[in-house]
Assembly symmetry: D2
């Protein structure tokens, strides 16, 4: 009963606490013969890296991934691929109060209720730092399905949506919000600064589009892609809703005499 793993044919497990020595992932079931090196994974970790702007956590980590196994002469062997990322800037003192209090909206209380005690430093394994491990594992997975193009962006922040008519793919990597609407990105800077000063934070809606997915992937019912994707997305810290395609809007369609266009979808 692997509760710290995800996947069926290709499966990865993650390990590591926010303030432990390191974090990592072991990827099992990667086909052999695929070219793989740290340089294939590092760019994805760089996109995610903390400490790069005033809009994310102030912790500064190089997040440098190392491949410790499963690769020989530049190609995957089919054996488990162990990935490791050292933790450099733990700042345990910043989190001192958490040892005696439960943060609302975090897993602090749940961990205590389940285990009887917890690694309170930085939230332990409940920290969003765990996502670095899954991003590294995801970097390997991308190489297995080169026929699929995957792109994600933020399409709403704090209740303020992008303007779809101003959608510019090139803008996604040109601002700090992965936002395809340059004007919205400017508004969001102000919104986030204001929230930060008020000691609060904002939510967002993220959209992810995978193109080129062949018909028939997944398996009926309990392993259908919709279900697997939803499970994956909901396992990310702080995610509270998932939609596929038109999602909730599809539930609201009632003009059967013609389609109204495509409502916004979100993953």
């Amino acid at each position: 009963m692997s509760v710290n793993s995800f996947g069926r044919v290709m499966r990865f497990s993650t390990w590591g606490e926010s303030h432990g020595r390191a974090i990592g992932a072991v990827v099992d079931g990667c086909p052999p013969g695929i070219e793989l090196a740290e340089t294939d994974l590092q760019p994805w970790l760089d996109k995610r890296r903390p400490g790069t702007s005033r809009f994310t956590t102030q912790r500064r980590e190089p997040d440098e991934v190392r491949i410790l196994s499963g690769v020989f002469e530049g190609r995957t062997t089919g054996t488990p691929i162990s990935l490791m990322i050292d933790n450099v800037d733990q700042r345990s003192k910043d989190y001192g109060d958490i040892s005696t209090a439960y943060r609302p909206g975090h897993a602090d209380y749940a961990y205590d209720a389940k285990y009887g005690f917890r690694d309170w430093r930085g939230g332990g394994r409940s920290s969003a730092r765990e996502t670095a491990s899954r991003v590294a594992a995801g970097g390997v997975a991308r190489l297995v399905i080169p026929e699929v193009t995957i792109r994600a962006f933020v399409d709403e922040l704090g209740g303020d949506p992008i303007d779809r008519d101003s959608f510019d793919p090139a803008a996604i990597d040109a601002n700090l919000f992965f936002c395809p609407d340059a004007a919205a990105a400017v508004r969001w800077e102000t919104m986030v600064d204001d929230a930060r000063k008020a000691g609060s934070s904002l939510g967002a809606v993220i959209e992810c589009v995978a193109s080129g997915v062949p018909a028939g992937w997944g398996a009926p019912i309990y392993a259908k892609l919709d279900s697997e994707l939803a499970a994956a997305m909901m396992s990310i810290n702080a995610v509270k809703g998932v939609e596929i395609g038109d999602g909730f809007a599809a539930a609201r369609l009632h003009d059967w005499r013609g389609s109204r266009g495509h409502p916004r979808q979100a993953a």
Copy 2:
């Protein structure tokens, strides 16, 4: 790699095609000593049964469940519990066209792409009839966690929401829509009749509330309850979105100076 199963400690598998001899489920990992008989499961199947109103499929099935194993002298033994429901009214002739055409929004094409051919009768395993098996398995699961109260209802149909101020729990089982707002249920009858005459159908938003769930259930990250519940809901035919708690509304909260109340949640 059990793709036709769901669950970790307690796990069930379903089998059966819409027009095969029978459908069923095998429940594995049910604790021993729990009182279980067909009468514990039949009420849930009766709620779901097709052919009970003009608003659902016209197929007429008694959906009588039988327990074939895992129970001795009225209590579960801890060994696998096999549940079976005979298919009585297959009406294969009603579905004759499907053998040569793919229905939009159904899995017909996906099955052909994946397997090379498919059991087209009534959609085979892709038919929503499969949910009878999972409802039977769910009936067993409820007995394992008596401390949890589970209630579900429809809170929106075809874009028309219930009035929360008129919420009456007793109304849920008093109309054909499991709707807690009697006035909405009346409007919905007209809406569905109109849709049916136009040869179309409507979507809905269903809400499910589980009360009494102890803190600590689930496991961190890949087995957190949010993720497992999302996977379960999304595996149901035609479900396209899942929210936990305030869901997408939580992503839109931006007035941090005070909570605006509780936006509608949906599972």
Copy 3:
């Protein structure tokens, strides 16, 4: 955590107690397009069927298997295949004493220790009757790997081995002991009759040869074929040892100046 299942890519679960209504198996992951009908499975069940000689249990069961799902127009669909065998001759009264006593060498005590109580009728799920379900599932598996020829026989009974120089494959199905040495089969009849009259029983060593297995099947270490086969064999009631190839004899080889021939192997 499916404890009542076996297999990885193709996986089956069994259910049913010796004296329950029926026993069965659900086969998951069978590739689509394989021709399958009850007539493919029945011969294997007939070989195993109780009540066919005075040398096995006196219970008389037709052991007629039915395929309830996963087949359409004579071929597997890729969806779960549910197999069921009705229990006809339960003879619960023959087993009346077991309800108040633990049989040595059986799982009676272990079940009580684990579950707190047990279905004592005929040993419940611990009965060797469960093997009928696995034989049915195995019948499906054979069709998936037609390139492999599988043959098994008894090569020793009660300490009396066959004479390898008298090995005759045709004899295997010509006597009640699946013995390839006709003379040994005759001796064994006497031995078993004597043991039966003394109120005792005898053990045996069974050999199984699979020919045509391609190199590379299985996966390194924890899923190597040796390990999977050993697990499968040891899960059969009363099996207490497994060898692959030369087995224990290989551990005893000490004449490295030349091979002495092939010591007897046993599965």
Copy 4:
């Protein structure tokens, strides 16, 4: 489908090639609150360490294990425990010929057949070095079941058995063969030296006794302890047979008028 893992409730995965940077294991499902430090695991690795005598491989590795996660303030947190052992003395040049030839009795050919190519250095993942990872994981498992005492020893080498009447537990750790019969250990030194000079090697039979195992552990049939233990033992490099209790000798018992004593058992 985790093929590089073992276990159900508590489960571990291993990774690493013989000549890669490191090898390791991730232990999932360890209960929280158990005192764990490197000093609990190192003694087991020291017993196994290569290069300690002329009777094992000449590679010299410190095999120092580090715990990278899953422990806080000296106790397990219930989250995954990552264990790592650096490879120091790879000696890739010693293995140069293997890159162009298949060693008989090794997995070289099987890996090529399965994957299309292999990490030939030291056998890659097929090397017995992998057992260091499983020994480390086993060290954690021992702490979870302190009520069970586990002891193993070699009871036969190259066909030469120990004398049970001279069984001395203290001798097990007093010679290089883990042999409880001091006289046999002396004979074995000569046998192994002779085999080594002849360019050959010898096999052995190892016995493992676990005392204090409560009745009811394991689960019926496919997860019975016999089956799980057999799978675990057979997954170790070069193991070709497993017996539980009297094993094959039990199959040969034929004097039902009284037991002859206890034949030698082997795991």
